[in-house]
Every structure is written in structure tokens, then in C-alpha cells.
Symmetry: C2
Subunit: 202 residues, 2 copies
DNA sequence: CCTTTGATTAACCAAATGGTTAAATCGGAT
DNA sequence: ATCCGATTTAACCATTTGGTTAATCAAAGG
């Protein structure tokens, strides 16, 4: 193990790894300690309890995956451009942390409470609401087909995230190795935008 | 609790409820026993171990959610009709068991092994392969745009399943109650097909 | 040096958990 | 009524697990 770093950050790194891989219920404090190469008591010395430690890891993951959705849709370019860019950026971003979406979705489905606080303390969804208005506007102006902005948003996120969440199934059913899967994801950056824009064409 | 039924089935029902809600790691044998209104030892009397019991519940869930994908695409009607129908049927089907997709995806991501056996013992994916050929054929004939059949398949499944998997997030972000969410799902039966068919238009 | 203070560890603890067992109970056949 | 196998239960067991504690270590300051 690469020691050297300060204990606090070592612990967080280890906790990230174990919690994300095994979930809150499946993770063992001892495993986190082992992963960090330290004594189990240190976990409690620095972070009180398993729940507290988990909260930190979860919030961090939530920020990486959900928050970008709030920001990335800002700007003043035409809506088609925005959509193209958000899809490309988002898939690229998730590719760096492909195991986070299923982690978040699993935990949020099992314990919706952990998300409530986070959403409230997260006013960045204002920009999503802006995007919604923009969609309605563009629909009325005939620039795009008139569609439900929520459904549009859901469609974009579905096409971007689902493949990562269903990865083992996809690879199992279509007998893909990791290289093939990465290629499939790469293709989707352009394709997902094509799908959405074809639908939006007035 | 409604007693009356034979113990074996009572246990399975209780196990379904607890495992699907809490996952393998989060589920407690005692909770299953309580839910079934029987002694914990009965679980082992009828089903040896927690893992064995879980396997039954998981396989059952897998059949309900994944297997239909293999069957529903059969038949000889034009491909656009098939897609429309598969989407409508599939969303309707999942609506009856909306908590199963996240259960399956969570478990499969945590323990891909449990899926491997199941996929091998499941030759019904032959019909998916048939569908793939059909897509390529239709592409060459100019009936639809030429697209990767795997991506098409993934797009369909993404649009159908993701909303159920992300339900707490969707309801949280857009402040929807259950009625509104059901409405959103109902809308998607037609909309998801529109999205796919607009993309496929040659 | 010695003391102090924060960091670290081994040992420990109580509760929870999956699983077992031996005894009790039930139900039908004789 | 009695026997016999299947079913059911309470009590028990070993292990795991999150968490605590008291002792040790190490560096800083005097």
C-alpha cells in the first residue's frame, strides 16, 4: 500500500473504495481499516461512526454524479448545442467514476432520507428549472417539438447513465469484454445526442 | 397477517418482501421469519441457508424483469410495430413490480456471479439475437436508419427501466408525489416509443 | 531529560446474526 | 388410544461486527 499520506485522507480513500464496492450494509469497518493499512480504532477516532463515515463518502459521490446535472445546462447557446454538449460531457465524466451511479441509486432506493437533506442543501437545481423553461420556450417558438421538459431531462439522463448501471448485464448478455464495453460507451456520446435531437426535431 | 397458506409459500413471500426491500446484505433472517409469522428455524428447515433462499428470490425476480426482453420481440410484424409494442408491454409489466429493477441491478453489480449461471441457463436470448439480425436487415433495406442493434436495444431498455431505478431522485428533484410519478410513467409508454422511432426514421 | 499532547494500537465488549439442536406438537394411519 | 413421521418451537451456539478503552508511542516544548 502507498502509505505517506495523512491518516484522515487515507481513511476516506479506503472508505470510498469499500463503501462504493459493497454498499453501506455490505461494508465492514475492519475491511476499511485493512484497506487503509491502519488500526480499526482509528476510524472511530477520526470519524465517530460507520454512518458518519458513510455520509461523507455518499455526499461526495452524490456531488460528482448528480450535481453536474444542475450546472452543465447553463449558458446561452441554442438548446440543441447545449444538449449535445451536456451528453458528451456527462458520459465522459461518468466514465471516470463508472461505479458511482449504481452506488448512489442503490443507497438512495434503500434509504431515501440520505438524499433529502442533500437535495435541499443543493440549490443548484435552479439551473435545471431554467433549462425547463427554455425547453418550453423553444417548443412554443417551434424551434423544437413541444415535449415535457421533465421527460426530456429524464430521457437524457437515462441514455447517459443506464449503461453504467446495467454494465454486468450488458456484458453478460452480449458477451462483451471491457474493451468492447468502453467502445460502446464511446459510441454513445454521439449516439445518445442523435436520439434526443431526432426526437426533438419539430 | 393472512396465515392459511402453506408454510413454504409463506416463507417465499416474506423473503421476497424483505430481500427486495433490503438486499442480501441488509436482510435479516429474523425479519423474514417475523414477516412470515413463523419461527426462524423454519427458514432453515425448508431452505437450508440464507443464500439458498436468496437465490430463489433473485432468480424469480430476474425471470420477471430480464426474461421478457428475450421473448417479447418475437413475431413477424414490421419492426416499428414491434418496438412500439415491446415498450408499451414492458413498461406496463415493470409497473406491476417497480422495485424489482433496482433490486436486480444492485445485486448483479455487487455479485456478478449470481447472474452468470442464470444467463447461461437461459437460451431465450436467442430471440434477442434474432431481433438484432432483423435490425441490421431493416437498416440495409432502408426501412430504418442503420444503427447498432446493441445500442438500439440498450436505448429501449434504458428509457423503459431507468425511471423506476431513479424514482426517489426523480420524485425528490421534481417534487412529485406518487400520483404524479405514475402519470409520468404512463406518459412514457407512448413517448419512449416516439423517441426511438424518431431516431430510427431513415 | 522529562513532560505533555495527540496519534496509534491491542485487547476487549456487548449486541446482533446465521445457523443448529433437542424437545415438543400435530396429524393421520393402524 | 397409540404410534410414527413430519412440522414447529425455544433455547442455544459460534462468529461477526460496530464500537470502546486503556496502555503505548512519538514528537514537541520546556
Amino acid at each position: 500500500m502507498a502509505q505517506e499520506k495523512n491518516t484522515e485522507e487515507q481513511i476516506i480513500e479506503a472508505a470510498r473504495k469499500i463503501f462504493v464496492k459493497r454498499g453501506l450494509d455490505g461494508a465492514r469497518m475492519q475491511d476499511i481499516a485493512d484497506e487503509a493499512g491502519i488500526n480499526k480504532a482509528m476510524l472511530h477516532y477520526y470519524y465517530r461512526s460507520k454512518d458518519k463515515l458513510f455520509e461523507i463518502v455518499f455526499n461526495e459521490a452524490f456531488s460528482k454524479v448528480v450535481t453536474p446535472l444542475g450546472h452543465i445546462l447553463e449558458g446561452t447557446r441554442p438548446i440543441e448545442e447545449k444538449i449535445k454538449e451536456v451528453i458528451d460531457h456527462y458520459i465522459t465524466g461518468i466514465s471516470q467514476v463508472p461505479y458511482l451511479p449504481i452506488f448512489i441509486l442503490s443507497e438512495v432506493n434503500q434509504r431515501p432520507e440520505i438524499m433529502i437533506k442533500r437535495l435541499n442543501a443543493q440549490p443548484s437545481f435552479g439551473s435545471i428549472m431554467n433549462f425547463m423553461k427554455e425547453v418550453i420556450e423553444a417548443g412554443k417558438n417551434g424551434k423544437i417539438r413541444e415535449v415535457s421538459p421533465i421527460q426530456l431531462f429524464l430521457n437524457i439522463v437515462s441514455l447517459c447513465i443506464f449503461p453504467f448501471v446495467a454494465r454486468p448485464l450488458v456484458q453478460g448478455i452480449f458477451q462483451q469484454d471491457n474493451v468492447q464495453f468502453d467502445l460502446l460507451i464511446e459510441e454513445r456520446k454521439k449516439m445518445a445526442a442523435d436520439v434526443i435531437l431526432a426526437w426533438l426535431k419539430p
